[in-house]
């Protein structure tokens, strides 16, 4: 913890990258300390509450978006492939793209929009209200106390949400194919033809990392909140934008790495 770090305006003279690196360093230090903390049990209700809001309560909207995406992609593809009598390949397309990418993307967008913003607003309000300053005078590290449980909750929530998005997307895809007269049995038999269990594991692991990154971006924007009436609004907006850009950059990097390693 940098106790006497300037809490002034969010715009600092340091480069954004140096600031982000410093935040990551503080985060790792806080995580390390948390591993040896005596009463992590007392922090459990905190974590559970955040997880409930960021994860469980996001299930309906995640499924809605997932379903819509699955349905639209399947419908558009089926309309094309129908010309070659190959619309059953829609099942393969849907299964593969959801499990490998789209499920995670839907969950990430939902997490950024619902929770990164909420984290920034909650923590930003605490900054404006001097609650963070009060914490620091008590010798409590705001990064460990506020950011860490939120990041853990986000990391856990995103992979689970992506599973719900996958399920809903498959349902949307099946709805399309049922319009073309295919049975559920045939749909399911084809949907996972090109996916291996390894694909699912990879995408869940990716989700874990993205969930942590999105939540971390939200928390950091909150902690960097400046002064004035519009400060919290600004950091909320910054949280959504930063976390989405960060997610897309990381997803691109993952794709490069995975293709380089031949997966």
């Amino acid at each position: 913890m940098k106790l006497r770090k300037n809490t002034g305006p969010a715009v600092s003279r340091r480069s954004a990258l140096a600031g982000a690196a410093e935040f990551c360093g503080r985060l790792l230090a806080a995580a390390w300390r948390a591993c040896f903390a005596r009463d992590m049990r007392s922090r459990l209700p905190d974590f559970a509450g955040i997880f409930l809001r960021a994860g469980a309560q996001a299930v309906p909207v995640t499924m809605l978006v997932g379903f819509l995406l699955g349905f639209i992609i399947a419908y558009m593809s089926a309309a094309m492939l129908n010309k070659f009598g190959a619309e059953i390949y829609v099942a393969d397309l849907i299964g593969l793209s959801l499990v490998k990418e789209l499920g995670t993307i839907v969950a990430a967008i939902v997490l950024a929009a619902r929770s990164a913003s909420a984290f920034a607003a909650e923590i930003g309000t605490m900054v404006v209200n001097d609650e963070i300053s009060a914490m620091r005078t008590m010798g409590i590290d705001p990064v460990g106390y506020l950011a860490l449980p939120r990041i853990a909750a986000g990391a856990l929530a995103l992979p689970l949400l992506s599973l719900f998005a996958d399920l809903a997307g498959l349902a949307g895809g099946y709805l399309t194919l049922s319009l073309f007269g295919y049975s559920a049995k045939v749909f399911l038999a084809n949907a996972f033809e090109f996916c291996a269990a390894g694909d699912l594991v990879t995408s869940l692991a990716k989700g874990l990392v993205f969930g942590a990154a999105i939540s971390a971006a939200g928390c950091r924007c909150g902690l960097e909140t400046g002064r004035g009436a519009d400060a919290v609004g600004k950091s909320t907006t910054a949280a959504v934008v930063t976390s989405l850009v960060l997610f897309i950059a990381m997803d691109g990097m993952f794709a490069l790495l995975l293709s380089a390693s031949g997966a």
Binding site: K5, G8, M126
Partner: protein, 260 residues
Amino acid sequence: MGEEREIALETVGLDAGYGAAAVQRDVNLSIARGEIFVLLGGSGCGKSTVMRTMVGLQPPLRGCVKLFGETFAEAGTEPDETPPLLRRIGVMFQNGALFGSKTLLENCAVPFQTLPARPRAEIDEICMDKLRAVGLAAFAGHYPSQISGGMQKRAAIARALVLDPDILFLDEPSAGLDPVTSAELDDLILEIRDRRRMTVVMVSHELASIFAVADRAAFFDRETHSTLDVGAPAALRDSSPHPAVRAFFGRRSAKRKDDT
């Protein structure tokens, strides 16, 4: 002041401010243990900023802050991670700064997190004691949003007192309180000082309160960014060479007393 005067807080050539701009320059204060010291000055002159620098929230732009003879914050040095001296101070912020998601009792229990584990019941007992002292025992289960602004301030004082600090910092504790509550607060401040020889550094505008509790006061000026005068409130009122200081105490207390 005798030889026995034990210094609790000292600022040496302290410049307090944000970024490059000093809000107050060259603050040299030496506050004794058991003293109640008031920071005075017009609104926006930097009282809160000086206090934030004293408690280590803002890095000094120049000079240093010493607590009990140990350097606590110094310009240009990389600060400690968690200075042990933090344990010895309690801070009440201008708006209370209670944690909105916690009840008053839970708010008071937060500072215990940095200490070795203790039974929950024991912590609750101590917290209830402090809440009782500020007259809020009946509201222990309330959230900050469910009580009035004045009550929030008192709860914040209870939270600042919960670890029995050696120095208590209060930023405008009595602003916005009714006269009776304000007088009760003065009594409370005097009592905790007398009981534990606690040092109190506070920002206040309330003349009645200043005369009731303060041993000494420092007057900050907004235009010159400097400390105009330091002394006992009555001395500042009656014999400060600075018109701004006398004007601050003016009319209500100084002139009326002169007339009689």
